[in-house]
């Protein structure tokens, strides 16, 4: 016997807005993992990410009556989660970040040859993680949403409450900064 089809999200949201806690819990089951993965990029560790995820859903539950359905539920939820993560990050000691404003167009090294080391190597992963973390939050967010979590440009711009042009501009700068951070790794791999 095939399982019953999942209830459409809009129906769950409607029921949750009428105070149906079970419907909201189903929304939690559908989105908690993804939201956790996103906020993990903005806070210090997994415990903090779990707390922020809990707090974001609590806020969403308290304010779901004000959700007007103009955006998709998950973009609204991600916005709450990211704002919550930013609030928490603001209370932490500042980490070293790079400024991406008004950067000149850099000269790129030649990476045309395949490095001998496989790119999935732990060193590269660490390098990538550090490069992403070093981005200021307003640049890290588009990169995480679009390139790590795989949202479309439109969805990610909606989460950030930005127009598409502004979103694309930030995304491009963030990508170039991360690309530049890989220079050394690839140059070493080619030697």
């Amino acid at each position: 016997m095939r399982p019953a089809p999942a209830e459409p999200e809009a129906a769950l949201v409607g029921r949750a807005q009428d105070g149906d806690r079970a419907a909201f819990e189903e929304l939690v089951r559908r989105h908690a993992d993804h939201l956790y993965a996103v906020v993990l990029r903005f806070v210090a560790d997994r415990d903090a990410a779990e707390e922020v995820t809990q707090e974001a859903f609590l806020r969403a539950w308290r304010s779901i009556g004000r959700f007007e359905g103009r955006s998709r539920f998950f973009t609204w939820l991600y916005r709450i989660g990211i704002n919550e993560a930013k609030r928490r990050a603001a209370r932490q000691p500042p980490a070293a970040v790079v400024s991406l404003d008004d950067e000149p167009i850099p000269e790129a090294p030649d990476w045309s040859q395949e490095p001998e080391t496989r790119l999935r190597h732990n060193d590269l992963r660490r390098l990538l993680e550090n490069a992403v973390r070093a981005l200021p939050i307003e640049y890290r967010t588009p990169l995480i949403l679009r390139d790590v979590e795989g949202l479309t440009t439109q969805e990610a711009a909606e989460v950030m409450d930005l127009g598409e042009a502004a979103f694309k501009s930030r995304l491009h700068r963030a990508r170039l900064a991360v690309r530049r951070a890989l220079d050394e790794y690839f140059l070493e791999a080619e030697e």
Binding site: R21, F24, E25, V28, R29, A32, D33, Y36, A37, L40, R46, E50, T53, Q54, F57, L58, W61, I105, E107, A108, P109, D110, W111, S112, L119, R120, L124, R125, L128, E129, V132, L143, D147, V148, E149, G150, T153, K168, L171, H172, R175, L176, V178, R179, L182, F186
Partner: protein, 85 residues
Amino acid sequence: MIRRVLANRRYMREHRWAHGHLSEYVDEELRAADVTRVEAHVGICPHCGRVLATLRRTLDELRWLREEPALGVADSVIDRLRHEP
């Protein structure tokens, strides 16, 4: 002389424009005419050609940063929700 100066100015204008649109090009979010414009410049600009190639590789790598689903997060959220008044 004037022709060379104008050609150089045009090249730099196209360089700035193409460099600024490489992400949209990779994401296939450019109009057909702009795709042609990027490709025309990248075809003659080694710098933009390298940036484009390495940008693609960077994006491939970024996808691997995606976290595996964190089992139990939904349960902990629901547990906390149930303790809310």
